[in-house]
């Protein structure tokens, strides 16, 4: 089994201290390992997104942190103390559920007040704080409605206010925007980000949408079949994926494989690929075996005589999709297919299907990643 991935270079954003230290955490359902022992630091005040395909263990990880799920291995430290014995209702964490889980028989106001009510906070204090929370999520006017009388976005904001009212140290959000339509989703992404910044509360947010993750996160933790594949800032993952899986997840769909390292320099590596020798900028790879080269479709440019990496191809298909034009190319020698995404421009002619085309890309625009065989 792979050792848990703990590369501090990418894990620590700034010099913030960890709020949660997760060490060797594993969750097993009978003979199925939903979470393979993993390490993860959640930093104080950050917006951390857990990103991964369906079934990768995101919900299980979140539920284990919240206390709904008992880990079968490892531990979670909060502020330096193991919280294994702290029951759900004593953890200073609150959850926003995917289906919001609003109490149907209580009004918006009563839903939001619930956390204070069960703690026995006096009515006057309670009311003031509820009004504050409703103000933050812009629901002052709907306080007397029942959840069934709210739109999806309003329900979502009620759930957020309810989770925030007890001033938790950590808010866990499990795909809270999944049920919303695209426009509302983008609005809510911005909104969540703003609320998180203003409140300073640490957010751990689950999604399987990479563009959503890029928009909202300080850091992204990519999960795959129960393990952490890579953790880093959105830019890190976008431009410096470390595995073929992460590269593909973030849209770097051109994978050149197999690769062999010819020579490494201070900040450049020469790689021999089926497409010829390619120059790659960036720190030299940590392993030299089983590598692949990931190139983003938008990094490819046609007829780039001055680019340092050039590939001779034949145009297979051209599709105009509005602001972009997507061209499928076939490498002349190996029959590998590449995808090129260029900005559509009315003044230049589209490539002709069947014609030869030399495409180029920058040495900084590609990344050496772990290949299919790991």
């Amino acid at each position: 089994m792979d050792a848990p991935d703990t590369d501090s270079r990418h894990e620590v954003a700034g010099d913030r201290t960890p709020l949660l230290r997760i060490r060797g955490l594993g969750v097993r359902f009978q003979d199925f390992e939903a979470i393979r022992p993993l390490d993860l630091d959640v930093l104080n005040g950050e917006f951390l997104t857990v990103l991964g395909p369906s079934g990768s263990g995101k919900t299980t990880l979140l539920r284990t942190i919240a206390g709904f799920q008992q880990p079968t291995a490892g531990r979670i430290e909060f502020d330096g103390r193991d919280i294994a014995d702290v029951p759900i209702n004593r953890r200073p964490f609150n959850t926003v559920f995917q289906d919001y889980a609003l109490f149907p028989h209580l009004t918006v106001r009563e839903n939001v007040a619930f956390g204070l009510r069960v703690r026995g906070i006096a009515r006057a204090t309670r009311d003031a704080r509820v009004e504050d929370a409703l103000g933050i999520v812009e629901l002052e006017d709907l306080g007397d409605r029942y959840p069934a009388q709210l739109s999806g976005g309003q329900q979502q904001r009620t759930a957020l206010a309810r989770a925030m009212i007890c001033e938790p140290r950590l808010i866990l959000l499990d795909e809270p925007l999944a049920a919303l339509d695209a426009t509302l989703r983008r609005q809510m992404q911005k909104f969540l980000k703003v609320v998180q910044r203003r409140s300073g509360i640490t957010f751990v947010f689950v999604t399987h949408d990479q563009s959503e993750a890029i928009t909202v996160s300080d850091r992204i933790c990519v999960m795959r079949s129960g393990s952490i594949e890579q953790i880093g800032t959105p830019r890190d993952l976008y431009y410096r994926p470390r595995s073929r899986f992460v590269a593909a997840f973030f849209g770097a769909s051109n994978i050149l494989e197999p690769c062999r390292i010819e020579s490494t320099g201070e900040d450049t590596t020469m790689v021999s690929t089926p497409f010829g020798t390619i120059r790659v900028d960036g720190p030299p790879p940590r392993v030299r075996e089983g590598l692949a080269l990931a190139v983003r479709p938008e990094a490819l440019v046609p007829a780039a005589g001055d680019a340092c990496n050039r590939i001779e191809c034949e145009v297979v298909s051209v599709s105009f999709v509005g602001s972009e034009t997507i061209t499928e190319l076939e490498h002349s020698r190996t029959r590998h297919v590449l995808t090129m995404k260029t900005r559509s421009d009315p003044s230049t002619r589209q490539p002709v299907v069947g014609s030869r085309l030399e495409v180029g890309f920058d040495a900084a625009a590609c990344a050496l990643v772990k290949g299919a065989r790991e």
Binding site: N89, R90, Q149
Partner: protein
Amino acid sequence: MTRNRFIDLPLAAVAMLVYVSLYLPILLIFLLSFFSMRRGKVNWDTFSLSWYAKLLENDALGGALWNSLLVGSLAVTAAAAFATSAAILVRSRPDSHSARLLEYVIFLPFLLPPIITGLSLLIYFREAGVGRGILTITVGHTLFVSAIIYRIVLTRLNALSRNLVEAALDLGATRIQTFRFIILPNLRMPLLTGGLLAFALSFDETMITLFLSGTDATLPVRLYAMMRVGFTPTINALVTLILGFSILLTVAVALAWRRNADSARMTSGEGRT
């Protein structure tokens, strides 16, 4: 499907016939409790409430009515407590073997022929040395009606988001607070509906009760006993009263059922405005 008059008309006629033959005897009993009959014809001039007055004089009947109401209330209360706990338990671990087993145990007395249930309980109570009376009848009715309340409560619990309990705990509530503030309020309508239905069932139950009642007869059992002595017009009056009460209960159940369905729709979030 297209409607066809040549099929619809005969169908309607048959349906009418069935209903008339079903309800005619009941109508007859109703009429006979007020009027007397001569040569197959109701004599409309003989209206009187004398048979009802006779009922009032019959102390045994008053006792039986009281027993029925008492047994009904006790059995419904016990069954509600039992069925609700069982439903919550089954809901919390629906796939476990013990949950399956519990469901069988609850449904069995409802599905078994009442004569079997009654006889088994009778033998059991005799062996255990428990004398027949209100207590034994109540136990029998509790077993019998639990299934109804259980089913209705479980349906509602299933409609509630599974996350509600977790959400409450997550927000700092204790288990008891979660039950009181979150689960119980959502079970009000199902408990009312199930309780009324269970009461109606208990009120009419005869077979199990026959085995379990000693000297404390319920209304249907008393009626049964009266019939064996001989058919008197008082019986018509009694049946009419029981019928009236049952109809009232049924209407109440139907109304509660509708409101229950409405509140279920609110619960599952379908009833958006």
